[in-house]
Symmetry: C2
Subunit: 392 residues, 2 copies
DNA sequence: GACTTAAGTTCGAGACTCGTACTTAATAGG
DNA sequence: CCTATTAAGTACGAGTCTCGAACTTAAGTC
């Protein structure tokens, strides 16, 4: 909960309600008595809180289950977090596609959709998609909306400071979505890598990791950093912009005009140049073709080995700084799979700061195109789980 | 406040009390009416809270000041955070010295002391210093104690996982201090760079910066990272171990057995080797001699220029990842001053990720040897300001 | 000296949590 | 089949907290 504002007894209730909600999400359904034990709250309090949650259709009460654990005594009625009544809208604005996801508090995707964008300005397409998606959610209250954008977003969670490949400056995106939603809920804007990282830590390969690092690779390289279960934002909201760190081949020319950027070693274009293959429609398709070729072509395998080493080198630096327990690779790296994971693990092992520190686990992303939109939706719901947004 | 435990109405009071305390610390003394406006609490509530704080000698009420701002009306009696009744003990265990600082809630150092250690095991010296320091604080309640250690400390804030130059494994340090304090308050252990970073952000060059990076240089290189006003710890508590990141001269041999570690480019020994000067009693003295020589010797200046560039290169990487608004250089860098700051600023400028991001400000540490102990003391008091520790 | 203004306090209403006592719904055993 | 036992859930009263309104207090102003 925001700690820099006054709390009344209602704030107290919000805080304890969020405690119950988090317990239901992280540890699964439970009876009131179990919830009381898990949260430390009194049985009576839990009863009242669950009652309130049931009223807004956030939880569901199944029938009692006789013959449960223990057997004797009155059986409890398990409370499940269905979250049907509380919804978060997540959107992604990208160069070649837009996505939308409506997520309920229980973590189920209620509606989702993706549309390709070719040539034209993607923002109108996103607005149209948002309109149609919102229309399809009749029941339930929208508690928040968030738009993931490939670029730098200021600390106000609203103003876009810089998008290399997208004309969506300032508050245009936020205002556009606010317009579509007609004030039904607050709208914020976030970096796409951050959103995807949040998605991984709640629905993907990093579930349960409080300290995770997400690295995405397309033409550019971006990272999303989760520490203590929260996104690391930085002073201006620009943390995780790792693409132009001087890592890897110090002579490689980068699109930014400098040399030695990590992106110039492990970005999509660098990878394709190294294996001598053309760029296809999407980064993933391009990488898949490379992976196919690698099966028979030792030269391609050697090039990917080099790539993986440079990935590992950068991850070693990030690991030294951030000490994550888990690193998730997304973007085109997913298609290359073990071709890049193996060498990355090895070069990472060589560069751990001390014998005491174990290597963070390396995994591939399991979420597809809609990762960023999914994470944005989860972030839109975050206020409920943190106790900042009243549930009723 | 810890958000994963139940809150009763007393917890609510703790939370609002901490809100008042933080307002007094950050925005200075104020009347009850002003405090009510600043915190958003009701006048009546502030009155009760201030009363409680006065009872434990945390705040002081000056006489009313007639003719204040506005002039008309009953003048308010300003409440000042003196914090005399609530104390934090900070200790530093190092290879060649130990320090102790007793800090009150108002941020004043009440007692402090440093003792050199030569050859022998420093832990007994620290315990003895702690004993004598604690004896000198008769009035006031010790709310916490923290020991800064040059090494890796686990996430439990207690177990030392690895100290390269110090035989103080496991829980020996914590148990020793607990013994001295006879259970008067909880004891925790922390990394020295983290503690120093916290000291800078509360008493030194980084006051007011919510996102700051502290880089210390002696024989080893370590960083302390403050994001959102909190220390970044990482999964195992090892975040900020930046000394062995592959940065700078990739051929330089490091004490760890590898090549290319940042430490091998900008650690004390690398610096001394580059200028061809001997190591003196302390890192600071060694560096001061180098700085003196640089005044007349262009070759030394050129070597320091190189050093500064490598410092900036690493800071660029850290800036890309963390986006701090401020970087503080500590350790031996302080003695070199502008010799290293200038080139560091320039190489940092060349490596910012995007035109939108400004360069973080670079400053020298203003705290001396006792930085780590001071930060440890501040951390020992943190629970009061966060509302986790009851004030009464 | 009466009036105005603003700080600080008092007091009752309302919200919340908690422990205890009570009710309810199951199993175990005779 | 009936009673005892066990545990879940609820009702209720006590205690704590915040809040707004009314009140008191201490200054300046006319």
């Amino acid at each position: 909960m925001a700690t820099d504002q006054p709390s009344s007894t209602e704030g107290l209730r919000r805080l304890n309600t969020s405690l119950v909600l988090r317990s239901l999400r992280q540890q699964g359904p439970a009876t009131r008595a179990e919830l009381a034990k898990r949260t430390g709250l009194a049985k009576a309090t839990v009863g009242v809180i669950v009652g309130g949650l049931a009223e807004v259709a956030a939880v569901d009460e199944s029938a009692s289950v006789p013959g449960g654990p223990g057997g004797r005594g009155r059986p409890g009625r398990p409370v499940t977090l269905t979250g049907e009544g509380l919804l978060g809208l997540g959107l992604e604005l990208n160069v070649d596609y837009v996505s939308a996801v409506v997520l309920d508090l229980g973590g189920r995707v209620r509606v989702s959709g993706t549309r390709p964008v070719t040539g034209t300005d993607p923002l109108p397409v996103l607005l149209d998609l948002a309109r149609s998606v919102v229309r399809r959610v009749r029941d339930g209250r929208l508690v928040g909306a968030m738009v993931a954008v490939p670029g730098l977003v200021r600390g106000d969670d609203r103003t876009v400071a810089w998008t290399p490949n997208l004309a969506a400056p300032d508050e245009r995106v936020a205002v556009g979505i606010e317009d579509v939603l007609e004030g039904r809920c607050p709208v914020s804007v976030g970096n796409d890598a951050n959103c995807a990282a949040y998605a991984e830590s709640h629905h993907g390969a990093a579930v349960g990791a409080e300290h995770a690092l997400y690295l995405t690779g397309t033409v550019g390289i971006g990272a999303g950093i989760v520490t203590d279960g929260r996104l690391l934002r930085g002073a201006a909201g620009f943390a995780g912009e790792v693409g132009h760190m001087p890592i890897g081949d110090s002579t490689a020319a980068c699109g930014c005009g400098r040399r030695g950027c990590w992106e110039a070693s492990i970005g999509l274009h660098a990878m394709l140049a190294a294996v001598g293959m053309p760029e296809l429609d999407t980064p993933y398709l391009s990488a898949q073709a490379v992976a196919d070729r690698a099966e028979h072509d030792p030269a391609v395998r050697a090039a990917l080995e080099n790539l993986g080493r440079d990935v590992g080198l950068g991850l070693a630096i990030l690991t030294n700084v951030l000490d994550p327990s888990l690193v998730v690779l997304g973007g085109y790296f997913v298609a290359l799979g073990e071709h890049v994971l193996g060498p990355a693990r090895r070069s990472l092992d060589e560069r751990l700061p001390s014998p005491a520190q174990g290597r963070p686990e390396l995994r591939l992303s399991t979420l597809g195109m809609e990762a960023a939109a999914l994470g944005a939706a989860e972030l839109a719901l975050e206020g409920v789980f943190s106790g900042d947004v009243p549930v009723a």
